[in-house]
C-alpha cells in the first residue's frame, strides 16, 4: 500500500484537529470533553439547579477535579445567598472533601512543577484564605442547623487552614470571626472552656478591637453581614509569576447595631488582610525558576537569532547561519511553551469583609437598627431589621443580605 506524503499530512492534521477541536474550555483553559458537557447538562437538569446558578454548577459538574473546588466554593456561596442552603451545603461538602485530600507525590501535583505546565492546571484547592473561608461559611450553615459540634469543628478548621509560610508565623490562624463563632458554638454545646480559649486567642489578633460584639452564654442570635468585593488575584513579575492581591476598598468597613443608646460594633474579618498575610508560597520558588528559564531561553533565542543574521552576512555557505537559526527556533519554542504564570483562579464572589453581630433576643423577637460604617467613621447605610419570634432554635443565624453599593 502506497501512502502519499499529502495523505499522511492529511491524516496527521485530522488527528491534530480531533485533539484540538473547538468547544468549551475550563477555568484552567483545558478543553471540556463533549461527554462531560452532556453529563453536566443532564446533572443541572436532574438537580433542578435554579437559572441564576446554572453556569457555576454546570462548570462544577463539567470541569472535573481540576476545577471542582473552585466552582463548588463559588456556587455554594451563590446558592446560600439566594437561599438554596441544601445546594450550598452539598457543594461545600464536596469542596471540603477535596481540599482535605493531601496531594503530596500525586501525579497531577508533580506535573505542575514542570516548566511546561502552568500552575493553573493543578487541581484547584484555593489559597489559605479561600480554604479558611470555605470552612467558616460551612460552619455557619451547621450553626443554622443547630449542629454545634460540627459548627465548632468547622470554625476550628478555618483556623487550621489559615496556614502561613515560615516567614509569617504571627499571622497563622488569626481569623477573628472564626474564633468568635467558635465561642458561640461552644457555648451552645455546653463547652465554655473552649469558648474561653477562643476568646484568649482572639484578643491577641490584629483585627481585635475592644468593645466589639462577642457572644456570651445567653447569645441566641447571630447576624451575618457581607460587604464589598473580595481580593482580586493578579500576576506580577517578569511573566506574571508572582501572585499578588488587589484590594477594592469597601465603602462599609464595619457594622454596628444600636442597643439602648449604645453602638455595638461588629466582629469583622477583612479577607484581603487574610489573603495578604500568609507570607511567601513554596510554589513561588518553582514559578520563579520557570520564569528564569523562560527569560534565559528568550535571551538565548535573541542571541542565536542575531548570530544567525551576522553569520548569514559573513559566511557564504550559510551552514553556521542555518545551525544558529535552528538553535534559535529551538530555544524560542522552549521559551514559548514555558508557563511560569501564577494561578489566578479565585473564589471571586467572596466579600471584602464578613461582619458578625451577636445578640440576646427575647422570645417575642425584636426590632433593631443596624448601620454600615465607612472607613472615616461616617454612616454609609442604615436599615431596620426585624427579628421575628423563634422558639425551636437555640441559636438563630440571620444572614442579612449582602450590602450593596460597595
Amino acid at each position: 500500500m502506497k501512502i502519499s506524503k499529502k495523505a499522511l499530512g492529511g491524516i496527521s492534521l485530522l488527528f491534530l484537529w480531533s485533539c484540538a477541536a473547538d468547544g468549551p474550555r475550563s477555568s484552567s483553559g483545558t478543553q471540556i470533553k463533549p461527554e462531560m458537557v452532556q453529563s453536566a447538562n443532564a446533572m443541572v437538569a436532574r438537580k433542578q439547579i435554579p437559572p441564576e446558578l446554572r453556569s457555576e454548577f454546570f462548570a462544577l459538574y463539567s470541569e472535573g477535579r481540576q476545577n471542582s473546588v473552585l466552582h463548588a466554593m463559588r456556587g455554594g456561596l451563590a446558592a446560600v445567598r439566594l437561599g438554596y442552603r441544601d445546594l450550598g451545603k452539598e457543594a461545600w461538602d464536596q469542596a471540603i472533601h477535596e481540599v482535605e485530600a493531601l496531594q503530596y507525590g500525586q501525579a497531577q501535583a508533580e506535573r505542575t512543577k514542570s516548566k511546561f505546565v502552568g500552575e493553573k492546571e493543578k487541581w484547584f484547592k484555593g489559597e489559605p484564605y479561600e480554604r479558611s473561608s470555605l470552612y467558616f461559611y460551612r460552619g455557619l450553615l451547621y450553626l443554622q442547623d443547630q449542629d454545634f459540634g460540627n459548627a465548632a469543628a468547622c470554625f476550628k478548621r478555618a483556623e487550621v487552614m489559615d496556614i502561613t509560610a515560615d516567614d509569617a508565623p504571627g499571622f497563622a490562624g488569626d481569623w477573628t470571626v472564626a474564633e468568635a463563632a467558635l465561642a458561640l458554638a461552644s457555648y451552645a454545646q455546653n463547652d465554655p472552656g473552649t469558648a474561653d480559649q477562643a476568646f484568649g486567642r482572639l484578643k491577641k489578633f490584629f483585627q481585635y478591637r475592644e468593645g466589639m460584639s462577642l457572644p456570651n452564654p445567653k447569645t441566641n442570635v447571630v447576624l451575618v453581614f457581607e460587604s464589598g468585593q473580595g481580593p482580586i488575584k493578579w500576576g506580577d513579575g517578569r511573566f506574571g509569576e508572582q501572585l499578588r492581591f488587589k484590594e477594592i476598598p469597601a465603602s462599609i468597613e464595619k457594622i454596628q447595631v444600636k442597643k439602648e443608646d449604645q453602638s455595638i460594633p461588629s466582629t469583622s474579618e477583612n479577607i484581603y488582610y487574610q489573603a495578604t498575610t500568609r507570607g511567601g508560597r513554596q510554589i513561588d520558588a518553582i514559578l520563579d525558576d520557570k520564569a528564569s528559564f523562560k527569560e534565559d531561553t528568550q535571551n538565548a533565542t535573541l542571541g542565536l537569532a542575531g548570530g544567525a543574521v551576522v553569520a548569514s552576512q559573513t559566511e557564504k555557505s550559510g551552514i553556521a547561519a542555518g545551525v544558529l537559526g535552528l538553535a534559535a527556533i529551538g530555544t524560542g519554542i522552549f521559551s514559548a511553551v514555558t508557563h511560569p504564570e501564577a494561578d489566578l483562579r479565585s473564589w471571586d464572589n467572596l466579600p471584602h469583609s464578613i461582619h458578625l453581630i451577636f445578640l440576646t433576643v427575647p422570645p417575642e423577637g425584636m426590632e433593631l437598627e443596624w448601620q454600615g460604617v465607612g472607613s472615616n467613621g461616617s454612616i454609609q447605610k442604615r436599615e431596620t431589621l426585624k427579628i421575628p419570634p423563634f422558639k425551636e432554635e437555640k441559636i438563630k443565624v440571620i444572614w442579612v443580605k449582602r450590602i450593596s453599593g460597595d
Partner: protein, 195 residues
Amino acid sequence: MRKTLFLIVIVGGLIGCAKEEKSVDYVDPNAQGAVAGTGVESQDISAAAQKAVQSILMTPAIAGASQPPIVMITPVVNKSASPIDVSLYTTKVRGALMQYGTGKVRFLARDVSSKTNEREQELRESGAVHGGQERKAASYNYILTAELQGISASNSKGQSDYFLVSFKLVDSQDLLVWENQYEIKKEGRESAVYR
C-alpha cells in the same frame, strides 16, 4: 517506511486522544483511600467501637449480669476540629456494638422506632387496627456515650490531626460504670504546589 510512519501517526493519535479511564472502581470501605487527608474517617470510629465493646463486655457490671442489660447509645458528640457525619458515625458505632455484643447486651433503638410504635399503639387503642402486642416500651440500664475530641495542627509542610474517641458507660443513677479512650493520630504532607 511510510507504513511505519502511518502506524506511528495512528497509534500516537489514539494514545493522545483516547486515554481510556475506568469510571468506577469498587474499593474496600475499610481501606484508606488512595488520596487521603488527616481527618477522622468512619473506619477509625468503627475500629474504636470494636475495641470498646470488647472492653465493655469484660466489665463486671455487664459480664456478671443475670440477664443481658439494655444499653442506649447516644449520638456521637463531636468536639474535634473535623466536621463529621454524626448520624453515620453513630450508626457505625451501633453496628460494631451489635456485631460484637449480641447476646451479652441488648440495645435500645428509641430514635429508630418510638414514633412508629407510639402511632401504632394509638391506632390500636382507637380500634382502627387490631392484633399485635400492646406497647410497653423498654427502658435502659445503661447509656453509652461516644465523644470525639481532637487537636489539629498545620505548618508550611503539612498537617496533623490527633483524635481521642472516648466512650462512657453510665447507669441510670448517673454512675460512671466504665470509660475508655482510643487515640488516633494522622500526619500528612502536602505538595509544595499547595504551600
